[in-house]
């Protein structure tokens, strides 16, 4: 119990420190201080600095992925499914800005191993969009001339950028609902079969 507790304390601290200072500028001693443990203790729970970063990502995305999949399972309307995905994503990013920062910035970084790891792990999450779009096309709700893979990038990129801004400027004047509504309005109108 105590061990598990300390593990998450370090994860939480690291998320915060990485978000604030960036992976390379963050010091192990910063994380230790934030988590209120000794520097050495961190190495009882993680192999090295990279391992901490990957764990932050793994556990963070894991939670979001799990929740999203659960919510979507109870649904079979493509439009409604996209709505759920968008709202869940924006809500999660807004709620945990530190995690958002790590996912959006630190994990993209250069290091090929990190980058490929992120893309692999992440593709499970963004792949959901592709699946929904294909499903919608089969149902005849979404236009068939839309490339599911490309439009996945288009939607995800839009979500990524609008939520990234929450971490940069103090553009708090848009709520999750407003943003979700704009993104969905534009994207859905863009991919749906005309019906009026």
């Amino acid at each position: 119990m105590k061990a598990e507790n300390k593990h998450s304390k370090i994860i939480t601290a690291a998320t915060k420190v990485f978000a604030k200072k960036g992976f390379f500028t963050a010091r192990i001693s910063d994380i230790a201080k934030e988590a209120k443990v000794a520097d050495g203790t961190i190495y009882l729970y993680f192999n090295n600095k990279y391992d901490i970063l990957l764990s932050v990502f793994e556990e963070g995305v894991g939670k979001i992925l799990g929740k999203t999949q659960k919510l979507l399972a109870a649904n079979d309307d493509p439009v409604e499914m996209l709505r759920i995905y968008v709202i869940e994503h924006l809500t999660a990013m807004r709620k945990n800005k530190n995690l958002a920062e790590v996912i959006q910035i630190e994990l993209r970084q250069t290091n090929k191993v990190i980058k490929q790891y992120r893309d692999k792990k992440f593709s499970e999450y963004t792949g959901i969009i592709t699946t929904i779009i294909q499903f919608g096309q089969e149902k005849g709700v979404f236009r068939s001339d839309i490339h599911p893979d490309l439009s996945k990038r288009i939607l995800f990129g839009a979500l990524d950028e609008v939520s990234r801004v929450w971490n940069v400027t103090l553009e708090t004047h848009y709520t999750v609902e407003e943003v979700a509504d704009q993104v969905l309005t534009i994207f859905l109108r863009g991919i749906m079969v005309a019906n009026n």
Copy 2:
């Protein structure tokens, strides 16, 4: 001449090295080697490592911005203007993958100074989208319930993500034209006033 020549040689080399290894992992000696100058020579042209990064960005974005503004000046159809912007951006990102990498990844980094600098400089470039959208709304071509600021993020995020992928996977199987077409189809249908 010789000085100017060396300056750009270093910029080009740095762009390549930063793109490949990332800002923090890149060594000054790597850049020097790539540019075929001595380590110390770099400090005759730049104040420090950060200065090199900012210069890469400044000069790179400057060129793209200039070209885009020039092309747009000769036009007054909002739809056509968006098309030009999208195609120019994708073409530029595709053509200079190293610069794209630096802009998209390295410059987002954490360091608050860097980040704010990027956002300030960049907002001039992405702000063009906002202007075009507002222009289109005034002309009654784009829906008035679209937030120009938000939809700027939506379009730019989409562009950023689709072009980022060119640097990660070997997803070369979409051409600039195909990608531009999908993005524009979806986005324009999303923001235009219905006219049928």
